[in-house]
Symmetry: C2
């Protein structure tokens, strides 16, 4: 399986930390120190998870002349901030790009859904039921976020990304997926209450951020080690690490646990905040052109609920 192309979409409107200083009295320095976040994007009125998904899909297809739209034979969408749970983002993308009668599904495994979506694609490729898939990750956190929440209101940003995956190599620059691990950890710690999004009751809240923090650090480091080991590689063989973009302190903690220098990490948390399951995909889109032939990339994710995973790529 190969990643042929990746593209991101970010809403234009920038929300700086000063917005939260005015709202809640949280200082720029305090937010930076705790999270590394300087600013984040906010979807405009009329934008939502589905419209951002369509933007990402159109961008990635436009960037992939070797993969005409009518050859796409599977769409997997991912979000934990749905605009519509019936006309899901995957269905909206199908309607927008105009491909009929192919498997279409949207998923959530919270912030780790990117890798679940890619693993589902891997399954369709293995069955022979698809060979060119569109994976779209899209989060409209601000639709469910309470900005007044001094615990987590300043963390979230909006954004989306699209990936074209193919069973066979389409171009020499394609990233080969060497290996992929996903797993739930719903039984661990405060997985059931630490960070939740109950659409009916209260939107997104994070009453036990410390529990999320500790497990995110542990699991992302551990699963990266695991995927390297089972491919007879070490961290020395890794050129880039793309962790879930939740918090710069988590990223630093994971780097330290793995013994990787900070310049090996790909990060957009300072500019985008936590864009949920889109964060790592946006980072891959931003880094894509700088990955040199022969270089290896590990993507590792952790999601509320909990879930975790790792993917090993080679250009």
């Amino acid at each position: 399986m190969y990643i042929h192309q990746v593209a991101a979409y970010l809403p234009a409107h920038v929300i700086t930390n000063e917005h939260f200083t005015r709202l809640n009295g949280l200082s720029h320095e305090w937010i930076i120190e705790r999270t590394g976040i300087r600013e984040r994007r906010k979807a405009a009125t009329g934008e939502n998870t589905n419209t951002m998904a369509i933007e990402a899909a159109q961008r990635v297809l436009a960037a992939a002349p070797l993969c005409p739209t009518d050859t796409i034979d599977l769409i997997v969408g991912a979000t934990y901030t749905p605009h519509d749970t019936i006309y899901t983002l995957a269905h909206a993308v199908q309607r927008a790009i105009g491909v009929a009668d192919i498997p279409v599904v949207s998923i959530s495994s919270a912030c780790s859904s990117l890798l679940n979506a890619i693993e589902i694609v891997e399954g369709y490729f293995a069955m022979g039921k698809a060979s060119r898939a569109l994976v779209i990750v899209s989060e409209h956190n601000t639709a469910y976020n309470n900005e007044q929440d001094t615990v987590a209101g300043h963390l979230w940003g909006d954004g989306s990304a699209g990936l074209i995956l193919s069973k066979e190599r389409l171009a020499p620059t394609d990233l080969r997926v060497l290996d992929l691990i996903t797993a739930g950890a719903g039984g661990i710690g405060k997985a059931d209450t630490a960070v939740t999004l109950t659409p009916v009751a209260k939107g997104i809240v994070m009453p036990h951020g410390k529990d999320v923090f500790i497990h995110a650090c542990q699991y992302m480091a551990r699963v990266t080690q695991q995927i390297l080991e089972r491919n007879n590689l070490t961290v020395a063989d890794l050129n880039w690490l793309i962790p879930h973009q939740a918090n710069l302190r988590i990223t630093r903690n994971v780097l330290q646990a793995l013994g990787l220098p900070e310049e090996r990490a790909v990060s957009n948390i300072d500019r985008l905040g936590n864009t949920g399951c889109a964060g790592a995909a946006i980072a891959l889109a931003e880094k894509l052109d700088q990955i040199q032939p022969g270089e290896r990339v590990a993507v590792t994710v952790f999601g509320g609920g909990y879930s975790y995973g790792a993917m090993l790529l080679e250009r």
Copy 2:
């Protein structure tokens, strides 16, 4: 791939048509004539998509002594009425049954998600990444439904079901999955507006029920025919048809299009209303013990958004 066991969970509280007569002036006879629905279940206070999913999981595992819980190596949940999009129903089930470090994901392809979930399992089996999966479908429609809505408020019911799927046959009574088709039809008709569930804006609404009705009838008949043909079978080889439980008129329309007598259809719409993606699975659970060796069952679904699918089973 085999379906080893199926079990359903239904909340105890029954809502009769008289409830809507009192609320909206809709008569029992009018509701029956339009939908075939006599009553539906409503989750109690404290029950939700996750708790109902756990009930279904525990019931199906209790009914499957040949499949100990610790052999489950994949959980796929499905709902369009999520209690929590981060701590999803699949994560809640993982926590409840106590299996660690296995792939866990929740999906939505609206009312057709049962077949998408089973197809995702088929992919994991094909990759060799799982061999015994738990599929849980759970809908808490009443959490998002406006009972006052005279167009569709009386249609929805709550319920859940669990299925154990295995790569190899576990028992002589297992249902073999002969074939499975899923597809999105997001580009068709009024797929983007006909029936939607926008959690933030207005819950579940169905402003274009006729568009849903027409396409549900067409697609469920067509995909059933398609799956029979590509397996060199005809409707004469079919003992039971389990359609998505949306409306008794849709079921009758599909039967007529296929040329099947009404007694071949498995139906619970009169007792349960539209229980979303759980409906066909609950029907399979209710029918399970009556399916004779050698008999064939077609499950066919249609979901808002739109999506459709068919699955062919043989005992």
